[in-house]
């Protein structure tokens, strides 16, 4: 636990809140810069170069510009929901930070039900999206908000189910205990399918590509955020990157062994921080990589994939895990069952691709015309 060597609990919590907000804002701005640089490299561009050395100050310049902009509210907008919406997205993102373990000792407050807390808090932001979409009185925003609600609620389920797989193995919802249990074998090896589930639903939960359907730039032009400008818009933006960071740390904690794997508790705190940061960067890079590589899915395909594929398979995984754990079968069976489910998933996707090719409606050539 962070100790500020202050006896007064009020000052202590105030400092903690300040440190959360400060740290998260700075790292979110850093992430925005990184995403622009990395995406630019994927695109064979240079990205920002002009503001500061190698464009490092680009995010700062953007933030200053956004703060300086006029805060416009459309005349027909619903004032309350329009103005409150950014906070409903912004605050949960920061609240998730509370129980994130950077090292064994370094966290704000290690909750016993930390995982449950994070899952619960992360769904609150959907309310903000819907408020933004409804309050803007704009049809693109409305469509985007409805998409966000449908997608957010649907993908909450595989997210929870995949977390459940891990919680069953660790027999705990405390993130530090989950990490400590992974000292020898990280969970990604035991449960690759759960990792895939979590990664996919986390992308959907954060509205990142290929699931950026609610904000789809080429369709609904930014979705719920169309009417937002200036500081309110930047709050959405900041929340997006904060959520990205937290989800990545969560993936590291749940599947990649957090600060623990492969060295255990022998490492000092600073090394543990470094280990966490390295693993998190890897995950974030992976998310950026996915973003620049794949097209956007369509909302009906997304829902089908969730309800017809991911959730049934996740339930099977939980059932199998239960069998293995209750009857004390050898641990490697966890990995075997998970890999088999991955195989099933690949088969299903292959099958659906074949169906696309099979349903050829051949209405061609001049003769038939």
């Amino acid at each position: 636990m962070i100790s500020f060597l202050v006896v007064n609990p009020f000052i202590d919590s105030l400092l903690k809140i300040l440190s959360i907000v400060g740290l998260m804002t700075v790292s979110a701005m850093g992430l925005i810069y990184l995403e622009r640089k990395i995406a630019a490299r994927f695109h064979m561009r240079l990205g920002p170069t002009r503001t500061g050395p190698a464009g490092l100050l680009q995010s700062v310049a953007d933030a200053l510009k956004l703060v300086g902009k006029e805060d416009i509210r459309p005349a027909s907008a619903d004032a309350w929901s329009f103005e409150l919406a950014p906070y409903f997205v912004f605050i949960p993102a920061f609240m998730m930070f509370v129980t994130i373990p950077f090292t064994l000792m370094l966290n704000v407050e290690m909750l016993t039900l930390g995982l449950l807390y994070i899952i619960a808090i992360s769904s609150v932001s959907i309310v903000g999206w819907v408020m933004a979409g409804w309050g803007s009185d704009n049809r693109y925003a409305l469509i985007g908000a409805l998409r966000a609600a449908a997608q957010g609620i649907s993908y909450e389920l595989p997210l929870v189910l995949s977390v459940l797989c891990i919680a069953m193995i660790a027999q705990s919802l405390n993130l530090n205990e989950i990490i400590a249990q992974q000292t020898i074998v990280p969970n990604i090896l035991l449960q690759p399918f759960a990792f895939f589930l979590f990664f996919t639903s986390a992308l959907a939960e954060m509205n990142r590509a290929p699931f950026d359907i609610p904000v789809g730039e080429s369709e609904v032009v930014g979705g719920p955020f169309v009417e937002y400008s200036g500081i309110r818009w930047s709050m959405f933006f900041l929340a997006e990157y904060t959520a990205l960071l937290i989800m990545s740390i969560l993936i590291v904690a749940l599947f990649l062994g957090g600060w623990s794997w492969p060295f255990g508790e022998k490492l000092g705190t600073s090394w543990q921080i470094l280990l966490t940061i390295m693993k998190t960067s890897l995950v974030i890079f992976l998310i950026f990589w996915v973003r620049v590589s794949v097209p956007r899915m369509r909302i009906d395909q997304l829902m089908n994939f969730c309800w017809k594929v991911l959730i049934p398979l996740a339930l099977i995984q939980i059932f199998l895990n239960g069998l293995i754990l209750v009857f004390h079968l050898p641990t490697f069976l966890l990995a075997v069952s998970s890999i088999m489910l991955m195989g099933v998933l690949v088969l299903i996707i292959n099958k659906s691709m074949q169906n696309l090719n099979k349903n050829h409606i051949v209405k061609n050539n001049l003769e038939s015309a």
Binding site: H43, E217, V294, P295, M297, R298, M353, V362
Partner: protein
């Protein structure tokens, strides 16, 4: 369970003219029931400049530049139709070298236009810029090459009635080889970035289907028509230039869906490379402008309709002359305009994101649609 249905309401969504994926200033008003499109009302004319009327006020030489401005992604193809129409009226023979160079440039322009299509189509499908920038790199190389030849990146005005404005640079052949090999690599990149991507396939297959008969009824032409399985290519059906002597395949699709329209274009790019290689082998030296072509042309009275296969389809020029040094009437038959009419048939019954992809697959250039 009660049988009472939840009451729903259709809403109108206005897409464009300032929408990021309407390819310029096209506007469509969608009636949507949830995500399902029940009706679409397209509006064109935001880029209307009266190009046809303007051409009637200019002499034939000045009109060439205007063709560039109607079809600004395939300028050489547009110039070609116009220039050929004037030549037909004048009844002059174009030197062989000029014709080969015209063919090379027209095919390269088809390449650059299709690269533009593929890149923009990637954005329509929602990839964050990667295919767009990869294809733009290739397009940029082609355009640099066109600039070396004509002196301009977009508005070339390089073809003249009777030949070409001036001869190509001395390193023409080696430069063409260079852009061809880079374009080949670019097409392979597109295969990797889009064609083999599962999400891309599921977004494009079985979407926006139009069958061959409907496509003909709407007057579609070019790759959009061939994707519906109709083997009609003006380069084959009514050969102009030296397309008779060249060996190439007419690519057709099977389903007439969005994927086929994309894939036909991608394969056509390979064919274009093939055609240019053959043209290079046949390239002769000699004059590039017919002797008969004066600077200020006066055409004998008459009328003529010339069509060529532009990247988007049939680019036709109907020219009426009354013996003056300017057209009495000039009508442009643009492929984009006719292809766009089929939009309603394709879009109704699909989802909002599909509308964007379908519009992208028709590959319109608003400058050509509105003129």
């Amino acid at each position: 369970m009660s049988n009472k249905q939840i009451e729903t309401q259709e809403i109108l969504v206005n897409m464009g003219p300032q929408h990021p994926s309407t390819h310029g200033v096209f506007r469509m008003v969608l009636s949507v029931d949830g995500e399902m499109i029940t009706d679409v009302q397209p509006y064109i004319g935001y880029l209307h400049r009266g190009a046809e009327k303007l051409c009637e006020t200019m002499d034939y030489r000045q009109g060439i530049g205007f063709m560039d401005r109607t079809e600004y992604l395939a300028n050489f193809n547009a110039e070609l139709s116009y220039v050929m129409a004037v030549e037909r009226l004048l009844d002059i023979e174009v030197p062989e070298r000029a014709n080969w160079i015209r063919m090379i440039l027209v095919e390269l322009n088809r390449l650059s236009s299709h690269f533009m299509f593929v890149g923009a189509f990637g954005v329509d499908c929602g990839v964050f810029g990667t295919p767009f920038l990869y294809s733009f790199r290739e397009r940029e190389r082609l355009i640099d090459f066109f600039e070396e030849i004509s002196g301009d990146r977009m508005m070339y005005a390089y073809f003249r009635p009777g030949g070409l404005a001036w001869d190509v640079p001395a390193n023409f052949v080696s430069r063409v080889e260079e852009v061809l090999s880079s374009s080949e690599q670019g097409i392979k990149d597109m295969d990797g970035l889009l064609t083999n991507n599962e999400i891309f396939l599921s977004r494009t297959k079985q979407v926006g289907i139009i069958d061959g008969k409907a496509a003909i009824d709407w007057g579609m032409s070019g790759p959009s028509l061939r994707a519906s399985g109709i083997e009609y290519d003006i380069r084959r059906a009514e050969p102009y230039l030296y397309y008779n002597d060249i060996d190439f395949d007419v690519i057709t699709g099977i389903n007439g869906d969005v994927f086929d329209r994309y894939f036909v274009r991608l394969q056509e790019m390979r064919q274009s490379i093939n055609i240019v290689r053959q043209c290079l082998a046949n390239l002769t030296s000699g004059a590039i402008l017919a002797d008969a072509a004066a600077r200020n042309l006066r055409t004998p009275p008459g009328e003529v309709y010339i069509r060529t296969e532009a990247p988007r389809g049939e680019y036709g020029i109907y020219l009426v002359s009354n013996g003056d040094n300017r057209p009495y009437r000039l009508k442009i038959r643009s492929a984009g305009f006719s292809n766009l009419q089929a939009l309603r048939d394709m879009v109704i019954g699909s989802y909002i994101p599909d509308a964007v992809v379908i519009l992208g697959s028709i590959d319109i250039v608003l400058g050509e649609v509105d003129r």
